[in-house]
């Protein structure tokens, strides 16, 4: 270490990097100039109508307190204790997997979803879609009833229609369903295909696993699911495989907890895996990886072949790639990766994004086989429900048949192809040429509008069902509440079509499960309902070997040509996925992990590409507007806001799907731009395109410079080697070169706890109470945002809408700051969740004129809404900028103008106050959970301190990678105490002597010394 410690520069935006005047002006203001003015009544109201919520009292007639009624049961249900939540296991289907969940029910209303510890796809963690699902359940815009030609009809009308229409068993019926792993749905599918003699069943997902499965067909001659065990690998090469993000990988939660468990460094003796990420746009995996290479999407395939070619020199089984020469053959990454992979044979994983073409998938499968990874870090499994064919091809063929008018009846089960199908298939036209169209969906959506019959779909929290985890363990989906709008589940819908009679999902699921438990069914069934999963089930491993004719069969597929000019890449959106979560306010408002944009999709590009298009990479702050570009590819053109993302590959533009919905609901409508018109069967992932500026500009709500801490040292990181050399690299002294001011004087006075302070020390005065503390391990954080959504669900945090967000009013109690580091073209990236620090000497408490924010005996910085008069002094004085102000009465607006206010109220946590206008709010460490834990401990054992682990905050519980630990710091054996003692532990702004209770653990990157490639990592 040199005498003068090297200070790494972390920055949030290009403006900050350039330190221009406008930026300085922007961040110095707590709020922009118009933050306190209400200039946009109309749009604000329309958002407020949908979100925020309130507790409506029984009546406002009396000027005394309103009269409240208590309505006890007539017959008391067993186990129901009013005021004590009940928890039931269920699972959330998403494409053809399910994630095990435990649902908190308050008085019969599901209010919060948690991960199921027993379920391998969850491991106790969740993703943003799981957490957001609760708001979808109470979405007032969900379809309320079946419709015939757009007119509301009753369910019995649909049943009698089915009985009559589907009595003709010989008609040409085409079923198009979403991907599903449900054994019951699969059983009914077989039954339907037997019943209708002339039927066809295709599965359509806009972002499916199909290419990955086709890849194994090419490589091994079998259609299999590839399961990469990232947690068991020492070296991971992710070729645009964003395996920790739910929008790119179905099993992201399991991947996240397994891979992060292998990277938790608690002492210098620990090792961690090494991740290389090769990608065009900046993904969460890329930011988490130890090394990142940016390549155009169209170059990834060539890179894969070059890597295979290099490996073929050393291992058997890759002869097909021997001698391939392309522009990557001499790339330093190819050499380095080959070397690292060869020295980790059997304990490495090479993976590629599921969207890439089958030949590239086959190359990756062959590489893993050749490296001996199969059976160790990579396993293959047969999917029992999957047809042995190319599903994308089958879908295209089916749509062409519809175009030709050869289909009598099409039954669409939960999918929305008019919006999502490749543009060249022209699905809407195909529907016109089809006889009878029946559609089951959550919303009266684009496809429903083109169908004769629409049947409203029940939410998964309202229905019976089943499904398989990513690795095949069976789970039951059990309803938590009766359908709010009388919807049907998929299996009830299909069964109605087959039999023409009404049926219950309960009977259908039980019928399927009878075959799994021929004897003693009822007790087995009860066990499944309780545990949520059958652990003794799963897909068997398939032993694979390279197909006999692999070398010759693969040759014609190897022709590879990258896009020479600008390429357009289309990927699912990080929060809305393919559009199915578009009407979810929580997910719409959640900033994207990398761009930090809320409420819109943009065309992401690198600073260099932007400059070549004549776009200034530095945004203008005064207008919040960004230039709009016109993007043409194939036969379509769209206009979309351009966004400069440092670290994006040059000459590549990434678009995301799911936006630009019309007439779906109040949240989704008119937000962002529909990018599906650019997506065609021949260009599902990327295509050459033309981009030009339009001269117009567009408002974007981006939070990346909001709540900025202006370049102070927030992130501390080191390479693994640097850490082993200097385990104390993260201490204040080693970062700044001098000790925290005042520490020496304090030591002289015999106080080791912190520097001398003007304020009264509180620490140590309440040892008879638990003293809460939190630690956030930056080494485990991917920036996914699930903590933010879990917090929003737990703490009744309102959604405020795009315009409010752009005025820096975003209400999230835990924000995730994303920092870049190094060169603007190819930076490293870090994510830092920032909740309230609960400072022991809190600056906010010292300025509140009415003592609305004070300190509790358990060491929590508490906020008392009823005392708050809205001066916002505390917000101004908070160095971490974690306090949020209710500029408007979000809740009351909603009650006054909403047309179905009671529905969203049902989503609210009854233990947390819904805040009103003019008060500050902020992270409470989930005070309701702390108090529940303390009361339960007191009643059960008489102790004032709950045992370690009994109290979990919502963010901690939701985090799939266990980045957040929480507990009592007076308990020396607690996990939190161990984390706080760890040498990587540090607190923010230590020189201010505010003594935060929330601390961080410094980031470690396991960089490869061979690879002198950016991000250039600090040596200590």
């Amino acid at each position: 270490m040199s005498d003068q410690p090297k200070q790494t520069t972390y920055w949030k935006s290009l403006n900050e990097l350039a330190q221009n005047k406008e930026y300085e002006k922007f961040v110095q203001r707590e709020f922009p100039e118009d933050a306190t003015e209400l200039t946009d009544q109309v749009s604000r109201r329309s958002f407020l109508r949908v979100m925020g919520a309130s507790i409506a009292l029984a009546g406002f007639a009396s000027c005394r307190k309103p009269v409240q009624k208590i309505m006890p049961y007539s017959r008391q249900p067993e186990d129901m204790v009013q005021g004590v939540p009940l928890f039931y296991a269920t699972s959330m289907p998403f494409q053809d997997t399910v994630t095990g969940l435990v649902v908190e029910n308050n008085d019969g209303r599901p209010t919060k979803l948690e991960g199921n510890n027993e379920h391998p796809s969850s491991g106790g963690g969740t993703n943003i879609y799981n957490q957001g699902a609760i708001l979808n359940l109470y979405d007032p815009d969900r379809s309320h009833s079946p419709k015939r030609n757009g007119e509301n009809v009753s369910l019995s009308d649909f049943i009698s229609f089915s009985a009559e229409h589907f009595s003709n068993r010989d008609q040409r019926v085409l079923f198009i369903s979403e991907a599903t792993s449900s054994p019951t749905q699969n059983r009914l599918k077989q039954q339907a295909l037997r019943t209708f003699t002339n039927a066809e069943w295709v599965t359509y997902e806009p972002f499916s696993e199909n290419n990955a499965v086709e890849g194994t067909q090419l490589a091994f001659g079998q259609r299999l699911r590839t399961v990469n065990h990232y947690g068991q690998a020492d070296v991971i090469v992710a070729l645009d495989d964003d395996f920790v993000s739910p929008h790119r990988h179905q099993n992201s939660v399991e991947n996240a907890y397994r891979v992060s468990a292998n990277r938790k460094v608690t002492s210098v003796d620990d090792t961690m895996s090494r991740i290389y990420s090769i990608e065009n746009n900046f993904t969460a995996t890329g930011s988490y990886a130890d090394h990142r290479l940016r390549l155009k999407t169209s170059e990834i395939e060539g890179f894969t072949y070059a890597l295979a070619s290099r490996l073929s020199e050393s291992v058997n089984g890759l002869s097909a790639y021997n001698g391939i020469e392309n522009e990557f053959s001499d790339h330093e990454w190819v050499n380095t990766l080959a070397e690292d992979l060869l020295s980790n044979r059997g304990s490495s994983v090479v993976s590629i994004g599921k969207e890439y073409k089958p030949a590239a998938q086959a190359a990756v499968a062959a590489i893993n086989l050749a490296l001996g990874n199969n059976g160790n870090t990579v396993t293959y499994h047969e999917l029992p429900y999957r047809e042995n064919r190319d599903e994308n091809q089958a879908f295209s063929d089916a749509v062409r048949e519809m175009q030709n008018g050869a289909v009598d009846t099409v039954v669409l089960i939960g999918t929305n192809p008019v919006f999502t199908a490749p543009a060249d298939l022209n699905f809407a036209e195909a529907l016109e040429n089809t006889g009878t169209k029946v559609h089951l969906s959550d919303y009266f959506d684009e496809t429903s509008r083109n169908c004769d019959w629409h049947v409203n779909h029940a939410h998964f929290l309202e229905m019976w069902g089943d499904g398989l985890s990513y690795t095949g363990q069976r789970s039951v989906i059990q309803p938590q509440i009766l359908p709010l709008y009388d919807g049907l589940s998929e299996i009830e819908f299909i069964n109605t079509i087959i039999t023409g009679e009404e049926s219950t999902g309960y009977d259908l699921v039980r019928e399927t499960w009878q075959s799994y438990y021929p004897s003693d069914f009822d007790s087995q069934w009860e066990r499944i309902l309780h545990d949520g999963i059958e652990p003794d089930s799963g897909f068997g491993d398939v032993n694979v070997s390279l197909a006999a004719d692999f070398d010759s069969a693969i040759q014609p597929e190897l022709s590879y040509e990258p896009v020479s000019g600008i390429e357009i890449t289309i990927k699912p959106d990080s929060t809305l996925f393919d559009g199915r979560f578009a009407n979810n306010g929580w997910l719409q408002e959640l900033p994207d992990p990398m761009t930090k944009i809320s409420w819109d999709n943009v065309a992401m590009m690198s600073p260099k590409t932007a400059e070549s298009l004549g776009i200034n990479p530095e945004r203008s702050f005064s207008s919040r507007e960004v230039p709009v570009v016109r993007i043409s590819g194939g036969n379509s053109t769209i206009e979309i806001a351009a966004w400069v993302l440092p670290g994006h590959a040059d000459d590549s533009i990434t678009l995301t799907t799911g936006y630009g919905r019309r007439n779906i609901g109040r949240i989704a409508d008119g937000v962002g731009v529909d990018t599906y018109p650019l997506r065609t069967t021949s260009a599902m992932l990327y295509q050459p395109g033309e981009v030009s500026t339009t001269g117009q500009s567009y408002d974007i709500a981006c939070v990346q410079d909001h709540h900025s801490l202006e370049g102070r040292d927030m992130i501390r990181s080191a390479s693994l080697e640097g850490y082993k050399e200097h385990p104390d690299f993260a201490t204040y002294k080693n970062v700044h070169g001098y000790e925290v001011p005042g520490m020496e004087e304090a030591r002289e006075e015999g106080n080791e706890h912190g520097p001398i302070s003007l304020f009264t020390e509180t620490y140590g005065s309440y040892d008879d109470q638990p003293q809460w503390g939190m630690s956030i391990d930056l080494n485990s954080c991917f920036g996914c945002g699930v903590c933010t959504i879990a917090c929003q669900a737990e703490n009744n945090i309102p959604v405020i809408g795009k315009r409010e967000v752009s005025r820096r009013r975003i209400m999230h109690w835990i924000r995730i700051d994303r920092y870049f580091e190094g060169d603007e073209d190819n930076p490293g990236a870090y994510h830092q969740p920032v909740p309230c620090m609960h400072c022991e000497l809190a600056p906010c408490e010292q300025v509140c004129p009415v003592a609305a924010t004070t300190h509790s005996e358990d060491g929590v910085n508490q906020m008392t809404y009823n005392r708050c008069i809205g001066t916002r002094y505390c917000q101004n004085n908070c160095p971490f900028k974690v306090r949020r102000f209710n500029f408007f009465n979000y809740s009351k607006e909603f009650v006054a103008t909403g047309d179905d206010p009671e529905i969203i109220q049902m989503a609210m946590n009854p233990d947390v106050t819904v805040r009103f206008r003019g008060v500050i709010e902020k992270c409470t460490y989930c005070a309701q959970r702390l108090n529940r834990g303390k009361i339960n401990a007191k009643i059960a054992t008489g102790s004032r301190k709950p045992v370690d682990g009994a109290v979990q905050t919502a963010c901690q519980q939701a985090c799939p990678s266990n980045a957040i630990t929480f507990g009592d710091i007076t308990d020396q054996d607690s996990v939190i105490s161990q984390d706080k003692r760890n040498e990587r532990s540090y607190v923010l702004l230590e020189e201010m002597n505010v003594r935060p209770r929330t601390s961080y653990m410094a980031k470690i990157r396991n960089s490869n010394p061979e690879l002198v490639s950016p991000p250039d990592l600090p040596s200590h």
Binding site: I55, R64, K65, V67, Q68, K69, I70, M71, P72, Y73, S74, R75, Q76, V81, Q82, G83, V84, D768, Q769, T854, H855, S856, E857, D858, V860, Q862, M863, T864, Y865, N866, R867, D911, V912, T913, T924, A927, Q928, N931, I935, K938, I939, G942, S943, R944
Partner: protein, 214 residues
């Protein structure tokens, strides 16, 4: 020169000042007294759909509070019993009483009886029955002599200051846990016994904001 103001005008400012002072004092006293829960809430005794008499059940018959309020030791709420609980006895006793008509209706139709809530805390205040009864805060301490009430009425103001009276000095109010439901409990050496109980149950009644407000 004639005077513009009559003689009594000299007195006017003084009188106005005195008048204003009296008025302000009266106003402050008025708000302090008449707007306080002590005045507005104590004695609130709304009419219930069924004229259930605690005096008969808890007083004369001596039924324990927990015969009906079963969940008080496990939940934040001391539940109002289900119709089923009433029917335990009233399918045998007073089976044709007119007053019990709503009970029988509820039992037959499954519809709930709409009891009017008497003890209302604001929504921003969290209160947990289980936490209190498990350490020996008697029902009577907050709800008064229920066994003497023909119609239940609010006996205490349930204001924050009133809560804090006990939270600051729990030893003056706690009783042995087995006496929690006793009505008319008295203890001569309350302070001494109270201090013992506080130590025995490790009582630490919190007084910081977030113990009740979040």
């Amino acid at each position: 020169m004639s005077q513009i103001f009559p003689k009594w005008a000299d007195e006017a400012p003084k009188r106005i000042l005195i008048g204003v002072i009296i008025f302000l004092n009266a106003a402050i006293f008025g708000v302090w007294y008449f707007f306080s829960p002590e005045f507005t809430d104590v004695g609130y005794a709304p009419e219930q759909p069924v004229p259930f008499s605690h005096q008969v059940h808890a007083g004369q018959l001596g039924m324990d509070c927990q015969y009906c309020h079963t969940q008080v030791t496990e939940s934040r709420y001391a539940n109002i019993p289900a119709t089923q609980t009433c029917m335990n006895c009233h399918n045998q006793i007073l089976t044709d009483s007119e007053n019990l008509e709503p009970i029988r209706d509820s039992w037959e139709t499954g519809e709930p009886i709409e009891w009017v809530r008497v003890h209302m805390l604001p929504d921003f205040a969290y209160f947990n029955h289980a936490a209190h009864v498990s350490v020996g805060v008697g029902c009577e301490s907050c709800h008064g002599r229920i066994d003497r009430m023909e119609v239940v009425q609010q006996a205490e103001p349930l204001s924050m200051g009133w809560c804090l009276d006990c939270h600051r000095e729990p030893e003056k109010h706690v009783r042995p846990v087995e006496e929690v439901t006793t009505m008319g409990y008295t203890e001569e050496n309350q302070l001494e016994v109270g201090l013992d109980l506080v130590a025995k149950h490790n009582i630490n009644a919190p007084t910081y904001c977030q113990s009740c407000h979040y």
